[in-house]
């Protein structure tokens, strides 16, 4: 999937801690990592392992205490146009239609409304919601709302798509179909994906590489290559074996 388009992330000695009840709580300890252009990197870890914090630092929503993050060689300062974020909640503006919401990202970046809506319509169709262009968020199911959020992020054509447990709030059935949807979109769009999840099966289904963030102090983060052909089959022996390997990492198997 590597292309000349960019979307390469370099993380060096990244550390971040929070003050909680007067105590310093280190969530990231000098983490170094390269995310390749066009790959799908999935971050897993127990709660408190700092996976969401890492994603928020990459998004530019949190500042690291130490270390640096560079995208295509340029160190980031805050949010940037080459990145888009998909959150666990769809975060749609309730007063805008599906079309208005998807066009929103382009419009705030100064694209004229007709042009923004034209490009939005393309991505609304891509996530299969063409018939719902004029619907308001309250009329949508959770899965549909999340699709709208995904379309909004794709519409700004980011080099890097950051996803923070995007399917975490969905029911099991919707979740599986949305995982297939994300795999398809990643395949069609020329984009680097960094996705945070606590669902190991989701990680193996989507990832080129899985980053496991340890919860215990002193333990190093681990990277696992998922060397499986796509589209992936969840019941295949090798798929199951990866799953067991990940479970072992968490001391669950």
């Amino acid at each position: 999937m590597a292309t000349a388009r960019g979307g390469e992330v370099t993380i060096r000695d990244l550390s971040k801690s929070f003050t909680l009840g007067g105590r310093q709580l280190a969530v990231l300890r000098s983490l170094s990592l390269d995310v390749r252009s066009g790959e799908c990197l999935v971050i897993v870890g127990a709660s408190g392992s700092g996976k969401t914090t890492l994603l928020r630092v990459l998004a530019g929503l949190e500042r690291a205490d130490g270390g640096a993050v560079a995208i295509d060689g340029r160190e980031i300062e805050g949010v940037g146009e080459e990145r888009a974020v998909i959150f666990q909640e769809s975060r749609l503006l309730p007063w805008l239609t599906v079309l208005g919401n998807v066009a929103f990202g382009l419009e705030v970046r100064g694209v004229p409304k007709p042009e923004a809506e034209k490009r939005a319509s393309f991505y609304i169709a891509l996530v299969g919601l063409a018939e719902f262009s004029d619907a308001y968020p309250r009329q949508l199911s959770g899965g549909m709302a999340q699709r709208v959020g995904i379309a909004r992020a794709l519409t700004v054509q980011p080099e890097i798509l950051l996803l923070d447990e995007p399917l975490g709030a969905l029911d099991a059935m919707t979740k599986i179909s949305m995982q297939e949807e994300l795999a398809r979109i990643w395949n069609e769009e020329d984009v680097t994906m960094v996705l945070v999840t606590h669902d190991l099966e989701e990680a193996i289904y989507l990832a080129d590489r899985v980053l496991i963030l340890p919860k215990e102090k002193g333990k190093a983060a681990r990277l696992i290559d998922v060397d499986l052909p796509r589209p992936r089959d969840r019941s295949e022996t090798r798929f199951v074996r990866y799953r067991e390997e990940l479970l072992r990492e968490f001391g669950l198997h």
């Binding site: 929503l61 959150f87 007063w95 419009e107 705030v108 309250r138």
Partner: protein
């Protein structure tokens, strides 16, 4: 449940070769009357009780005249034009004060909700003013502005200001921070975030303020017109009572109630237009 029974009964009628058009009409009429009854039944019962109590002499008709007598007094006042001047002056006082309150409170509330320093600085004095009854301050306003129009409009403005201001502030502050963050991720600057996220998000709460403000404006209108006025609906209520023209007094009260209902309906209608996205407009 009741509607289901009616529909089922009509369905059987239709199968038995009944007149399709007739049953349809009966069904629609039944539906409409059931809806009217469930909504206005208690109100109609209240009016009927009043009428019967007055007409049959259970209550002193000098104090509680029958509804038809009040209706006649209302008609005479409106058709004869004697109440129209009062309505006009009252609308002018309340309208001016309400408009001024909107012009001051909404922009101020938007700023206070957005800029922490402004809110911190203004909150204590705002709380003090808010907890001081506007009616208690009316004599002060009269001293400062005289007994004419200015003090009346000002006391209405004063009381209307607070519900509008407080609801605008809370509307701005209660906009979901996750939406603000989303806009920030797309690179929206502060002014864009305000225009595209904060303002539309605060509109429902601003409307709560507008509706409370309208109610307050009418309340203070009457109070101010009962002191030192010689025209206006509030004056008429008081004056008719002094002169023992009880039907006229009730006619003036009916006009007041109607003004309140119309103002509220107008605001609800406007809110429906502006907030089509929300189904919580009540």
């Amino acid at each position: 449940m009741m509607m289901q029974h009616i529909e089922r009964a009509v369905g059987i009628g239709g199968r038995n070769g009944g007149n399709g058009f007739g049953t349809e009409a009966v069904r629609l009429a039944g539906r409409a009357s059931a809806r009217i009854l469930s909504r206005y039944g208690v109100l109609l019962g209240f009016l009927a009780l009043w009428q019967v109590a007055a007409a049959s002499g259970w209550v002193n008709t000098a104090v509680l005249p029958p509804i038809d007598t009040i209706a006649v007094a209302l008609w005479k006042g409106l058709a004869g034009g004697s109440l129209l001047g009062d309505i006009a002056i009252s609308l002018q006082r309340a309208g001016l004060a309400f408009a001024a309150a909107v012009i001051v409170a909404i922009p101020l509330g938007l700023v206070m909700g957005q800029v922490r320093a402004v809110e911190t600085a203004l909150d204590p004095i705002l709380q003090l003013f808010r907890q001081t009854s506007a009616l208690a301050l009316y004599p002060v306003f009269i001293l400062l502005l005289g007994l004419g129009e200015a003090s009346k409009v000002f006391v209405i403005f004063w009381a209307t200001l607070f519900p509008l201001l407080l609801n605008t502030i809370s509307g701005v502050k209660e906009v979901d921070p996750k939406l603000l963050e989303m806009a920030r991720v797309y690179g929206a600057r502060r002014l864009t975030i305000f225009r595209r996220v904060v303002l539309p998000g605060a509109v429902p709460s601003i409307f709560v303020g507008l509706r409370l403000g309208a109610t307050t404006a009418l309340l203070l209108l009457i109070a101010s017109e009962m002191i030192g006025a010689n025209k206006g609906i509030g004056f008429q209520v008081m004056n008719a009572q002094y002169n023992f023209q009880i039907p006229l007094m009730f006619a003036a009260i009916v006009i007041l109630a109607a003004l309140g209902l119309i103002a509220n309906q107008a605001l609800v209608g406007l809110q429906r237009r502006l907030c089509r996205w929300s189904n919580s407009v009540g």
